[in-house]
Each structure stands twice: as C-alpha cells, then as structure tokens.
Amino acid sequence: MKQTSIFDVISPIMIGPSSSHTAGAVRLGLLARNIYNRPFQKIVFRLYNSYALTGKGHGTEKGLLAGVMGFGVDDRRIKDVFEHVENIDYAFEYEENFKKHPNSVDFIFDDMKIYGESIGAGEVLIRKIDDFEVELTGKYNTLVLVYDDVAGMISKVTTIIQQKNINIATLHCDRYSKGGKASMVISIDGELDARTVSDVKALDKVYFVTYVKKLDE
C-alpha cells in the first residue's frame, strides 16, 4: 500500500489555479535553479504539449519563471512575476512533441539544459541534465555528478558519503557509452556538508558536481 499523508489532501497552500500547471511549474523551476546553482543572466523555457497549449491560462510561464527566481509555490508575487524580474533575460518557446510528457519543459541556460516533467498533483521529476538521464523529485537532498566512465568511480563516491554516516536512499547512473562520459545521481537521507561535496569534486575525472537541495514541503 502506498504511504499517504493527510497533508497530501489538505494542502499545499499554493497559488492557483492548477497543481500540475502552476504549483508543479514553480517546483520544476525551483529544482532547475537548485541544479544550476549559480547566478545566471539568461534563460529560455521551452514548453511542450499541454504546458505549451494551456500554459497561458494556467500561469505556467509565470510559475516556471518564479521557480527559477526562487519563489515558493505560495508566493503571491507569482501572479505578476514579470514585474519582479531583474537582470534576467528570459524567453519562452512552445513545441508540440509527442515523444515528450504532456506537461514538460526544457530549462535552457547558456551552458546547461535541464528537462523536467510535472507528473500530477504538484509532483515533479527532472529527467535530463544535458544529455544525461537522471531522476530528481526534489524530495531528497541529492548529489549529481558527471564524470569519465572509469572503473571504481561509484564505490569511490559512495564511500565518501557513507564515511559521514549518511544513508543513501537511491542511486542512479547513466552513461553515453562505455568509457565515455557518465552521470550519477545519489539521493540521501540527511544533509551533505560543503566539505563532502568538495571531496567528491576533487576526485580525478569528475567534471561537474552539484548538490541539489530538496524542495520544502
């Protein structure tokens, strides 16, 4: 049986009108912001399918933008978020693409592309960072890294984490080709400190590391 909570049915407190198209959009934006994790001046949102078609009526564009700016799902500024933008050059594109989820979006930063889906009732899933497949729900603190696919990397990274007595909830790996670039997504129970993150960064053949904070409930 599914674990359920009464707060799934008497909350969240959110800006309307739609949990998938508004609150979900904000949460996707927040996750993309946490993944990118550095200042940016430019972003393009590419909305697919139902997000593209009914997004305007549901405030999906506003939600996405509010999310990458760090606003929570109950922030009243979402409604007129365009008036709150400073120093970010943003644009929206729309595409019908039946290979993509009905409610999905690309966040296109200058040097990174993040693809995510709003999977219902405000729940979201980030599925791609650049061309790597990942699975990020925002429910756990998560470490994401891209590295050269060399033997032993997984055990090196998990050892560093487990040395801190931190439990690993899930581990997901993906690679382009054997010996090519690979990605690793590790969800943990608890918190990683900056030291641990930089220990992972310092590993040989690791290119990119980001520690993605979970979203507030």
Binding site: M1, I6, F7, M14, G16, P17, G59, D74
Partner: protein, 285 residues
C-alpha cells in the same frame, strides 16, 4: 490503518486517530500535525476573505465574477434555505474563483476542488460558533477521509475523473460537517459513503483544458451535496454498501472511464460546439 473499517474498529475519534497516525509516520509530535492543519485552515479563511471581495477575472476571462453576483442577489433575496446555505455557496465560489485568478488557496484535495471543504467547514463553524480546536478536529477528520481514499485511488482527474477530485472533496466536507456538528465516527463514515456513492462516474472534461468550466461552479454544488450526506448521516441513515467497497468501485469506475473524459478535454463538455469556439478564440488557433 488503511481502510475505513479499520478506522472504525479503533473506537476512537477520527481526528485523534488521524493526528496520531500522522505524527507517527512523519516522526513529529502531535502538536506539529495540529499546527500544520491550522496553517491550512488559516489559508482557507484568507482565501474566502479575499475571494469575497474580488471580481478580477481569470486570465482566460471566462470566470471570476459570479461570487459577487451571488452576494448581490442574496443581499436583496435571502436564500429560501437560510443563511448557512448562502454562506456555503458564497464561500465555495469565493475560494474557487480566488484559485483561478491566481490567488492563494489550500489545495483540498486538489486546486480545482479547493472551495468545497473550506466552505462547509467555515460556514458551519461561524454559524455554530465552533472553537479553533474544533475546526482543526474537523479538518483533520476530512484529511483522514481523503488520505484513506487516496491510498486506493489517485486523486487526479487525469487518472480517475472528477469523482476522485470534487467527489472526494465532497466526501471530505461531509465528514468535516458531521464532526463539527457532533456526530460520531460511524455517522462520519456513513456520510462519506453516502456522498461518494452519489458521485461515482463524474467526468473530468474541462473546457479549453483550463480548471474553470465546469470546475468553479461545481464547487458550490459539491459543498451542498456534502450537507445532504451530513444531515442524512446525522439522522442515522446508513449506506448499505460499505464505504471501503464504494472506494473500490470508484477506482474501478475510474479505470473504465474513457481517457477522453479524464482531463484530456477530448470529450464531454470540452467537445461541445461552444467549448471548441472558446478554445479557438482563446488560443488563436
């Protein structure tokens, strides 16, 4: 504790069982659970207050000024069903209109159905001068009802139709009402059953794919529907089919329902001539 039968077997007030269960599964004190429920309650009150005083239309321009219309009408023509009836209608419309104009609401269980539980709960609480603690108990009762249903049926129009969203909300509201009016757990569970049974098969066919038509005006209907279940249950009327079996029937009905009637806007109201014209106009197709 996953079925209504198990809940009744506990021989305990539903809100008590709910807060204990929640505290245990989230590993927090009971006070924290009550505090979180109070936050939702506050958000509900705020949404009603803001909604009653606004006529701002939704972005599509299709909805947003009907609560005002209703209030003006009632100020000259009191409802033949009395003052609580007026309040329930006004509060539910106020909340769901607040939702579609991008106001702040508490999803209950979803955003599209957010006006149903608050309107019943708040109107009765005001009318019968119920304390904040009693209101929290009623909301926890509603929450427990929704939680048990959600363990079997996904509360999403896209999965099980509107019976799962507004239908569940109406059952939750009925439970909150019986709790508030002093009913016992058995009466609460009967109210849930009576309410759910009557809404099986309700489709989700929103015009233009927006949570506006029929959703906004469905909220007041569902709130009054909850009151029918509440009063019958308080009178001792019982559902002959046990609630857990009704929930199973809801799940099955959801599966049998055509995808065209589950939020895809490919059938029903969303495919009427006028709906298609609205869509053309709205999306410049």
């Amino acid at each position: 504790m996953y079925t209504f039968e198990q809940l009744l077997n506990k021989n305990e007030e539903i809100w008590k069982a709910a807060q204990e269960f929640e505290a245990k599964s989230c590993e927090v004190p009971v006070e924290t659970v009550r505090k979180c429920a109070l936050n939702s309650l506050h958000a509900m009150k705020e949404a009603v207050k803001t909604g009653l005083n606004s006529t701002v239309m939704s972005m599509s321009g299709m909805c947003g000024d009907d609560c005002d219309r209703l209030q003006k009408y009632y100020s000259k023509n009191p409802s033949i069903f009395g003052h609580v009836f007026e309040k329930i209608l006004e509060y539910s419309l106020a909340t769901s209109e607040e939702n579609i104009r991008m106001g702040k609401i508490a999803a209950c269980p979803t955003a599209g159905s957010c006006g149903i539980v608050p309107s019943v709960l708040l109107a009765l609480a005001e009318e019968f001068k119920k304390s904040e603690e009693e209101q929290i108990n009623a909301l926890l009762t509603a929450g427990e009802v929704g939680r048990i249903i959600s363990g079997k049926v996904a509360l999403a129009g896209a999965v099980a139709g509107c019976q799962a969203e507004c239908g569940t909300a109406s059952a939750m509201a009925a439970a909150a009402a019986v709790q508030l009016l002093g009913g016992n757990p058995k009466q609460i569970v009967n109210a849930v059953g009576l309410s759910l049974k009557n809404l099986l098969g309700l489709t989700c066919d929103p015009v233009c794919g927006l949570v506006e038509i029929p959703c906004v005006k469905r909220n007041p209907f569902m709130a009054i529907h909850a009151m029918c279940a509440c009063e019958m249950a308080l009178a001792g009327v019982e559902t002959k089919i046990p609630v857990d079996e009704i929930v199973d029937a809801m799940e099955q009905t959801g599966q049998l329902m055509s995808p065209a009637l589950k939020e895809s806007s490919l059938g029903g109201l969303a495919r009427t001539k006028t709906a298609l014209e609205l869509k053309k106009k709205l999306f410049n197709l």
